[in-house]
Amino acid sequence: MQTDQVYIMIKYLAGIREKTGVQEERVSFPSRSTLNDVADWVLNRYGLTVPNPRLMAILNGRGWGQYPEKLSTELKEGDTICLFPPISGG
């Protein structure tokens, strides 16, 4: 049955958690929302700009920019988004 909301998980990893104060949260968006809507939500709630060269944004294990629709990619129920600082090898 189609619902009018999708629930996704947003995880704030490494130094980004300093800015959000939470490690992860389950967030609902109206169905047919996109990564653009997530970017707006994160900006309004935490003042974090996504996409941003100093913040890596991943949807289900792949960079937002790797999806054909880029920021217009529609959210699906159960999606996981991870936000973290740029990584460069250890």
């Binding site: 995880k11 990893l13 490494a14 130094g15 958690r17 300093e18 100093r54 890596m56 991943i58 294990g61 792949r62 960079g63 920019g65 790797q66 991870c82 973290f84 600082p85 740029p86 990584i87 460069s88 090898g89 250890g90």
Partner: protein
């Protein structure tokens, strides 16, 4: 010689004769190979034949700085070594920070070559252009840090560059490091080469000035770079490389229980937040580094109270999750033991994890482990097996031979050994990033994430790549490897490179200000030349396509659980990437550079 960046001299020390000489550095070789890794590879090519064994007195250690080492710019700390590796039996290049490289240069030398074998334990003192030898007989058995303290007492200075080996190297444990200040030439067992020469440590004090072409411009670049780093590297300053623990785990490529799976449920207990809140004592900075990413951690309570070590991502990943350990205190203590004995945390973590898997599968018994219950997640087993390796007791005597040695004696253990060319994996499971698999396969020193080319960022965010696909990975890995080879030859840390525009499209101002010569248009070409030279060395030592392949677990077993459950990389896919990689490099299908590519990089005339 160029206007700046070079001292123009190389110090050659012969331990057999207790003698030394000074050679000129040629401008022609500098223009082709720049410094650091390039020059160390060239000297190795010229002086270490394929028949030379790691512990033969004919083996040598070549230390080379780069044109930026010691210059008053951020993190100009790096220098490089090459030698024949006791761990892999082939060419080894290794890169290290600390203060030694800058002091070597300020003492008047771009490079230091150690050759011969002393008849008794010896130390080497370099004070500006004066060289002397000391008796290190009474230091036998001392840990790396205590040896460094003794060296500082002998020279009577605290602000020096100092390197030492520990008790493990003295027993020729093939995964021994050379500890340099608070950093190390960690991988490949160079510490055991130093021990075979009966050289316990080197201290250098340089007070000279490093010439530069345009000091005013350098001052301007430094200020801008520091401002940039304070902003862009704030997370690195606060959390250091341990911040990657949480990220790599979430991406599903954290080595867990000897790479059997790739997601560690205990990560919150060993991640950067736990470290920062409960263990961090202070930061450590290499020479001239405003980032200060080193993290000195102290255990305040529990069974490992009092332990103190500088823990990095790789050490945590391989001594922690890969051994099933979720006790950060145990990881700090394990790290401290490795540092004191002078063994590589990465190869050690792999060796302990292997032992634990073999024990759980019934292939190793308590008789082998000296009574240790070697199960994953047992901190006492982690500590106990480290001691067995460093002291060459029980199964530790076999593990001390490195994975190449283990495979020779126990070929039936090959399904559980995660290494390429004898060098164990770094703390990324390549089934999570297929480019990383090629990195491990084609790195000039075995399964290394740095020399081999760290692809994860590109595979994760570039629109050109899919982390679980093979297309384009050959070219990607080649480009990153060439990039890294030139950075390893500059003398700066990779953490700060972007603040001075040393990326894929480097700009010329830093090199021109330091040397008076604009290397920049050819930096990637220099990197490619170095990589090709290293491959020629490896070819001469018998390395071909068959040696560039990955262990069975990586290409035959699907990841059983976690975010990338079900992922595997088949042999066919891997061979396809290898083909693309060789073509990108101008190598033949067996991994040998063609005459054309040797000609292209002017390598014939160099040799």
């Amino acid at each position: 010689m160029l206007k700046g960046g070079y001292m123009g001299k190389v110090l050659r020390v012969n331990l057999t004769k207790k003698d030394y000489s000074v050679e000129d550095l040629k401008e022609s070789e500098v223009l082709k190979l720049m410094g650091g890794r390039g020059l160390a590879a060239k000297r190795y090519y010229e002086e270490i034949g394929p028949a030379v064994k790691p512990f033969d007195q004919e083996n040598k250690i070549f230390f080379f700085t780069g044109p930026l080492t010691g210059v008053r710019l951020p993190s100009t700390t790096k220098f490089q070594l090459s030698t024949k590796s006791p761990e892999t039996g082939m060419y080894l290049c290794s890169n290290c920070g600390g203060d030694f490289g800058p002091h070597l240069k300020m003492s008047g030398f771009d490079g230091l070559i150690i050759e011969g074998q002393a008849s008794a334990w010896t130390s080497l003192l370099i004070r500006d252009n004066k060289v002397s030898f000391g008796d290190a007989g009474s230091w036998q058995g001392l840990t790396t840090d205590k040896t460094q303290e003794e060296l500082k007492k002998v020279i009577g200075e605290k602000r020096v560059g100092v390197m030492s080996i520990g008790p493990a190297a003295e027993k020729l444990v093939r995964i021994s490091c050379i500890n340099v200040d608070s950093r190390a030439f960690g991988r490949g067992g160079a510490g055991a080469v130093m021990a075979s020469k009966k050289l316990k440590g080197i201290v250098v004090k340089g007070t000279g000035k490093i010439p530069v072409a345009d000091q005013a411009k350098i001052d301007e670049i430094r200020k801008a770079a520091i401002t940039n780093l304070k902003e862009t590297r704030a997370n690195h300053t606060k959390f250091g490389t341990p911040q990657y623990i949480e990220v790599i785990n979430e991406l599903g490529c954290m080595p867990t229980r000897n790479f059997q799976t790739t997601y560690f449920e205990g990560t919150p207990k060993v991640d950067a937040h736990t470290m920062y809140d409960q263990y961090l004592e202070k930061n450590y900075a290499c020479y001239m580094c405003p980032v200060a990413c080193g993290k000195i951690n102290v255990v305040k309570e529990g069974p490992f109270a009092g332990a103190r070590a500088r823990t990095e991502f790789e050490s945590i990943g391989l001594l922690g999750p890969d051994c099933g350990i979720d006790d950060f205190g145990a990881i700090v203590y394990a790290n401290q033991l490795c540092d004191e004995y002078g063994i590589d945390t990465m190869s050690t973590g792999n060796a302990v994890a292997l032992t634990m898997e073999l024990y759980e599968k019934g292939l190793v018994s308590k008789e082998d482990t000296g009574g240790i219950e070697a199960r994953f997640g047992n901190p006492q087993a982690l500590i106990g097996i480290i001691r067995l390796i460093a002291e060459r007791h029980g199964i530790g005597n076999l593990l001390a031979e490195g994975m190449a040695g283990v495979l020779k004696k126990k070929p039936e253990w090959s399904p559980y050994i995660l290494s390429v060319k004898g060098l164990p994996f770094a703390a990324y499971d390549p089934r999570g990033f297929y480019g990383n698999a090629l990195t491990y396969g084609t790195s000039s020193r075995g399964a290394c994430h740095n020399v081999g080319g760290w692809t994860i960022r590109d595979e994760l965010i570039s629109g050109k790549y899919d982390r679980f696909a093979t297309e384009g990975k050959g070219k990607l890995v080649k480009t990153i490897q060439d990039n890294r080879a030139y950075v390893d030859s500059l003398g700066i840390c990779t953490v700060v490179r972007s603040s001075m525009n040393f990326g894929d499209n480097p700009t010329g101002e830093v090199m021109t200000a330091v040397t008076g010569h604009d290397f920049t248009p050819r930096l990637l070409e220099i990197g490619e030349r170095i990589y090709t030279l290293e491959r020629l060395i490896l070819n001469r030592e018998g390395i071909r396509r068959k040696n560039d392949r990955l262990p069975k677990r990586t290409v035959e077993e699907a990841v059983p659980s976690g975010p990338i459950k079900g992922r595997t990389l088949s042999s066919e896919m891997y061979e396809g990437m290898l083909d693309e990689y060789y073509r990108s490099r101008g190598w033949d299908p067996d991994g040998v550079p063609t005459e054309e590519s040797i000609e292209k990089f002017g390598l014939k005339e160099l040799m």
